[in-house]
């Protein structure tokens, strides 16, 4: 800790082009109306998530899969940029779970048969993967998944949809489909145990937290951009409300928090890619800052919109609720702050168990 880690390089032109492509794709395939439509699908729907096929065709779903399975073989800094865009679009569906967590976990532990059976289909968008790690009580988009990668007592299991029983657990974010999953672990479903499983589970958790952090930055950016646009045109007391210092300062503070959060995400993405010793600290820093930035952006956005943003018919709540739920998922700011505290202040501790 005494010597700060080397700085990650700035995004390359290729990386920025990747992000721009993802942004264009998502704004075409996942406009707000698609997000809103996802709220109205029945909770148990097994249909493909919105825009999933288009994202798969463009290589987004499989971007983390090895190239021999038709994947992009991208590393964390690349896919984190795409996750930010998914957050900005409030994309429904398990892109985080399938792409950032499950595909690399299967690729690392799945063995040839399982990888052959699932990874190509996942990259092509035919197979949706869901994830349930130990600390998380619910599995997102379990009803849509074809295969679930589940933790049980430190072991990693892969279980097909037909072998699990789901209890839908409606979330305040109607585009987020949670379920409690009941299933029977067995030798046949077990992919790994012991230290090998532990290392992969820890890495998978950090990838999930990183992806959530990246999405939260995107969610926060959208919230502030939409609110700035509104504050420029909405007038009260004969002035655009964005000319009032109180409104300016709310939005400026939210912007500063986002601007400070993103470099933490970027740094964490390199720590995840490099698998360095500081991965846990870097990821927790990123998730804590991104969670706080998104919650702050949601507060500022609603406050500056006023009553007009407090309506279900206005799109603002689609992003606000995503901010609330993603900020709590994969460890909230308090949990990650406590993990950092344990790692830097208690030299004998490895930090608390995963959220």
């Amino acid at each position: 800790m005494r010597v700060p880690p080397p700085a990650p390089p700035a995004p390359t032109d290729e990386q920025l082009a990747l992000r721009d492509t993802a942004r264009a794709l998502l704004s075409r395939e996942c406009p707000p109306a698609r997000v809103r439509a996802a709220w109205d699908e029945p909770a148990e729907a097994a249909a493909a998530p919105p825009a999933w096929v288009a994202l798969a065709r463009a290589g987004v779903v499989g971007m983390t899969a090895p190239e021999r399975f038709g994947g992009g073989g991208l590393d964390a800094p690349d896919w984190a940029l795409v996750m930010e865009e998914a957050g900005r679009a409030a994309l429904p569906g398990p892109l985080l779970e399938t792409t950032a967590v499950a595909i690399p976990l299967l690729a690392a532990l799945g063995g040839d048969a399982l990888c052959d059976r699932w990874l190509g289909g996942a990259a092509a968008g035919r197979a949706v993967l869901a994830v349930g790690l130990g600390g998380a009580p619910y599995v997102a988009d379990a009803a849509r998944a074809h295969l679930l990668v589940l933790e049980h007592a430190g072991e990693v299991h892969a279980v097909e949809r037909a072998a699990v029983t789901l209890t839908a657990q409606p979330s305040v974010d109607g585009a987020r489909r949670l379920a409690r999953v009941a299933w029977q672990p067995s030798a046949a479903t077990c992919l790994a145990d012991g230290p090998r499983a532990a290392a992969q589970l820890a890495a998978a958790f950090d990838r999930g937290a990183l992806a959530a952090a990246a999405q939260l930055v995107g969610v926060a950016r959208h919230l502030i951009e939409a609110t700035v646009d509104y504050a420029k045109v909405r007038t009260q007391f004969g002035r655009a409300i964005g000319s009032f210092q109180a409104v300016k300062h709310h939005l400026a503070r939210a912007h500063v928090a986002i601007e400070l959060a993103w470099p933490c995400v970027w740094r964490a993405a390199h720590a995840v890619a490099g698998a360095g010793a500081d991965r846990a600290i870097a990821v927790s820093l990123a998730k804590a800052r991104a969670s706080a930035a998104a919650l702050g952006a949601a507060r500022a956005a609603l406050q500056c919109h006023g009553a007009i943003g407090y309506s279900f018919e206005h799109d603002l709540h689609l992003w606000m609720k995503r901010a609330w739920t993603l900020a709590a998922a994969w460890g909230d700011a308090a949990w990650h702050t406590e993990r950092v505290a344990a790692l830097i202040l208690d030299p004998t501790s490895q930090g608390p168990a995963h959220a």
Binding site: P170, Q303, E313, A334
Partner: protein, 391 residues
């Protein structure tokens, strides 16, 4: 509201008896769980409860008996509120009449209006919606553009109101209309009472943040209102609205009882969920509980000033800042304690307290916005209490 008594020893004895009586009745009668107010069946259930309250004399304890109250002191009203929410009492479906219109009627209404309107309002026989905000007049209430034009025996109203809480289910609306288009902003407004079944009125419900059908737009197209349904002077609507918002911001709408009860539920939630809560969650719970205590102590101090005949008009902005922020703090702390279960809503099998906390959080987020945004309240504190110059 009846004259308050000083806190003498006799009053203390009376108050203890009052508390005991209220508690006994409430514990025996408060309904366990009502459906959300923003639905036809939920609204009806809340109306039924409110009528039961009225019949027992507990709907408006601080009102004069002639209007259905029991002449309770301010202190007793605060005590009743504490007991009401501690017993799990639901929000009042009569609130936009009892808490918003009634204070203006008490201050500026005619005797005829008081006699005609107050008792049915308190008895939940006539349910009132508010009609202040318009699409272009939110924080800037004086920007109201809906008009009322003088005709024989009354007025003809035109325009659009919005964010009118539960207007879809209510019988009447009270609000501001422009009667003199040439007068400066705050002048030329008049306060009207409008039956929502009058010809020319169209009410269109819409959903608030949590999806409940709790809001409505009200469109008025040549709606006749007789002179007797003007509150206060023609051109004096701003004064009426201020009589209303002064009490809305202050103790009437948000007495500490509701927050004390919520803070107590938060403490109980923490005790149940202690095993998975972090030290930061624990601190947030303690702080939110302390916020509620502080607001209680503040309110009782203000009540003491009121009882002593002092004005606490501008202080209502301090109260509004306090309760709106502590309500969010309580919910924030609860969501932190719940962690990954916080997002589960009513009906989710695993939802703790059937999703009450995420619901309450959404409701709490409206607090810093309605009844004058907190930014405007801070301006009021700075200008009226500290004497800083206007912008």
């Amino acid at each position: 509201m009846s004259e308050a008594r000083a806190a003498t020893g006799d009053a203390a004895t009376d108050d203890a008896a009052f508390r005991a009586e209220a508690r006994a009745w409430l514990r025996a009668h408060v309904p366990r769980h009502l459906p959300p107010m923003g639905s036809p069946e939920g609204f009806a259930a809340h109306v039924a409860w409110e009528r039961a309250l009225f019949d027992a004399g507990w709907a408006v304890p601080a009102w004069p008996a002639r209007y259905g109250g029991r002449d309770a002191t301010i202190a007793q009203w605060l005590i009743f509120e504490e007991e009401y929410y501690a017993a799990g009492g639901p929000p009042h479906v009569t609130q936009n009449g009892v808490s918003l219109l009634a204070p203006a009627l008490f201050e500026l209404g005619t005797d005829e209006q008081k006699d005609r309107l107050l008792r049915p309002m308190a008895a939940a026989e006539v349910l009132w919606a508010q009609g202040w905000s318009e699409p272009g007049a939110g924080s800037d209430l004086a920007a109201v553009r809906s008009t009322a034009t003088r005709v024989d025996g009354g007025w003809r109203l035109h325009g659009q109101k919005t964010w009118s809480t539960r207007a879809s289910f209510c019988h009447a609306m009270h609000g501001l209309f422009r009667t003199d288009p040439d007068a400066p902003r705050h002048k030329g407004l008049t306060y009207f009472l409008v039956p929502l079944d009058a010809p020319g009125v169209r009410v269109s419900g819409f959903r608030r943040l949590d999806g409940d059908l709790d809001f409505a737009e009200v469109f008025l197209d040549d709606v006749f209102v007789p002179d007797r349904d003007v509150v206060g002077a023609v051109g004096g609507g701003w004064k009426v609205a201020m009589a209303t918002t002064g009490s809305e911001r202050g103790m009437i709408l948000r007495s500490p009882g509701r927050f004390l009860a919520a803070a107590q539920r938060l403490v109980e939630l923490y005790r149940r969920a202690r095993a998975t809560a972090s030290p930061l969650d624990r601190a947030a719970v303690a702080r939110a509980w302390m916020d509620a205590q502080a607001y209680q102590h503040y309110t009782w101090q203000q009540a003491g000033k009121l009882a002593a005949g002092q004005s606490v008009a501008a202080e209502s902005s301090v109260a509004k800042l306090a309760w709106s922020e502590l309500d969010v703090a309580i919910c924030d702390a609860a969501l932190g304690v719940l962690g990954p279960r916080a997002e589960l809503v009513e009906g989710a099998p695993d939802a703790v307290d059937d999703g009450a906390w995420i619901k309450a959080y959404q409701f709490a987020l409206a607090g810093p916005i309605y009844a004058g945004t907190n930014e405007i309240q801070l301006n009021v504190v700075a200008e009226r209490l500290l004497g800083l110059p206007r912008e």
